[in-house]
């Protein structure tokens, strides 16, 4: 993995062997550029790249490519997310070219939450291709210079290809194989779903390492600090594919009034410490949802600052 595929900062950090640290920023439900810039600037210099979500939970927001460009203008490297829910293969390939042409170098390929979750449940979905095929599409365009129909791409988009992996959704035994499938399809790096059940994640990573997946792809462990007991309960009960152990909820409850958020951060810091040592984990993906201003503090306390300049 020494030769650069995209030359993105994230790729360079990872390929130089540094422990990566990525963040996340959700675009606004409107054209509030100022607010987006304010949120993103909390992450500037603190993370290696910032995931820009694509209408997450199927709620209409500023388009992820436009928000990615705004971050680029701020000197922040975006990780442009794209879902298959809202675009067919024509729009997908077109947006890949557009994003690359404007300077985007990382792209995370996702199927996308079903529209029934969001604020336009009446909409028609697309799902012309799935996340696996999207990964393969980007790889084919980048490495072979071909569109899905086999015709030539006039200047190939050199993107660092990301994928998501959820070790906690079912069937558990198949999850590591699905990760392997994404890597074969072309994923250069993977960011996992938020991890709370450490036992299960240790088992997942053990299997991934046994299969040698960590040598073919950078695996970033997903961390989302809990802000409150309510958030933990919501994640546990309402978010499909999320595994929040009872012991964590108990621990947060036991923290006492006004101290739950700090306890949530402490748990996240303990996780990060373990991930630094865990075989096969190449970095952290910190999803501090609407808590961007806390990221510098978490990064500082996690000992991941300053970020490497590569």
């Amino acid at each position: 993995m020494s030769e650069h595929k995209s030359g993105s900062n994230l790729e360079k950090v990872l390929s130089a062997g540094h422990f990566a640290f990525t963040g996340e920023c959700g675009p606004p439900q409107g054209a509030n550029v100022e607010h987006l810039i304010e949120k993103a600037n909390h992450l500037k210099g603190v993370v290696d790249a910032v995931n820009v979500t694509d209408c997450q939970t199927a709620v209409v927001r500023m388009s992820s490519w436009a928000a990615s460009l705004i971050l680029l203008e701020q000197g922040i490297e975006p990780n442009f997310q794209m879902v298959c829910r809202d675009r067919n293969r024509i729009a997908i390939q077109s947006d890949i070219l557009g994003a690359y042409s404007m300077g985007i170098r990382n792209m995370l390929c996702l199927s996308g939450d079903h529209q029934s979750f969001g604020n336009h449940p009446e909409s028609k979905n697309v799902f012309d291709i799935d996340s696996m095929q999207l990964i393969h599409t980007v790889k084919t365009m980048r490495d072979e210079g071909k569109f899905l129909n086999g015709s030539d791409v006039d200047v190939a988009p050199k993107l660092f290809i990301g994928a998501a992996s959820n070790p906690f959704s079912e069937p558990f035994d198949f999850r590591v194989y699905r990760l392997a499938k994404k890597i074969s399809a072309g994923a250069d790096f993977v960011q996992t779903q938020c991890i709370y059940n450490m036992d299960k994640f240790r088992e997942f990573m053990k299997r991934a390492v046994d299969m040698g997946l960590h040598e073919k792809c950078y695996i970033l462990a997903g961390v989302t600090p809990m802000k409150s007991v309510g958030m933990a309960l919501y994640m546990s009960k309402q978010v499909p594919g999320m595994d929040v152990p009872e012991s964590l909820i108990k621990r947060l409850r036991g923290a006492g009034k006004g101290k739950v958020a700090e306890e949530g951060i402490k748990f996240a810091l303990e996780q990060i410490e373990e991930f630094k040592e865990m075989e096969g984990v190449a970095g952290i993906h910190l999803m501090a949802i609407e808590w961007e201003h806390k990221v510098p503090e978490i990064a500082e306390r996690a000992g991941v600052l300053p970020r490497p300049v590569v």
Binding site: F127, D128, E170, Y177, G241
Partner: protein, 222 residues
């Protein structure tokens, strides 16, 4: 079969409120099997319309007639003498029926009496579930005999997505995750190798995406 459900009577009454002579046309095909559009249901709907007319003090005539099938011109022709006496026709066949009636009897106002839901079957008495999306190129053998196009909420060919939980789909605890079933079955059948094979993007040209479809069997065309 094609599975349908009756439209609410209120909606039907609103549709035909300006008509005095209404013919309810049933179908002995799929809609009879799923208990929404056969002779029995035609009789029930016709009497509901009559009662409502009486209640309103209107002089409404409602006839009923059930065809062998509404998706065959030969049977649709049977109506030619009956239909003359009516201004409005309610077809309680699937969406094909009212269209065949509209095409054959262009002067008549035709209304759909049911909402056509999907292609599927009865999984238990009174419960029907979708099985086929009619994509035009069947590949269920690649997925343990289960169709991810019709039965995965995202039609994933390389599932399951991260929203699969306890065998259920992320959209609802009432919806089975078909990919959970596919994986479980194929693992049991020792077919992991097939499961991890990359399934390329599907050509939707044979599905509705390719435009309205038609099938011609030359040997049957006279």
């Amino acid at each position: 079969m094609i599975v349908a459900e009756s439209k609410p009577i209120k909606e039907l009454l609103e549709m035909v409120k300006d008509f005095k002579k209404i013919l309810v046309v049933g179908c002995k095909g799929c809609v009879t099997v799923c208990n929404v559009g056969g002779a029995k249901e035609a009789a029930i709907l016709a009497s509901a319309l009559r009662i409502s007319g009486k209640k309103e003090g209107l002089d409404v005539t409602v006839g009923e007639h059930t065809l062998e099938r509404q998706c065959d011109p030969e049977y649709v022709n049977e109506l030619k003498d009956v239909i003359e006496d009516y201004d409005a026709v309610i077809s309680i066949a699937c969406g094909v029926g009212p269209q065949f009636l509209s095409e054959r009897y262009p002067a008549k106002k035709v209304f759909p009496g049911v909402n056509t839901k999907f292609m599927g079957g009865a999984v238990e008495h009174g419960v029907w579930a979708e099985r086929c999306a009619g994509c035009g190129t069947c590949a269920i053998h690649l997925f343990g005999g289960l169709c991810p196009i019709a039965r995965c909420s995202k039609s994933l060919l390389n599932g399951p997505c991260g929203g699969s939980s306890n065998g259920k789909c992320e959209i609802s605890k009432e919806v089975d995750c078909i990919w959970d079933m596919i994986v479980t079955k194929m693992m049991e059948q020792d077919r992991l190798g097939e499961l991890i094979e990359f399934r390329p993007p599907k050509s939707w040209t044979t599905a509705r995406d390719g435009g309205p479809r038609k099938m011609i069997r030359e040997e049957l065309v006279k």
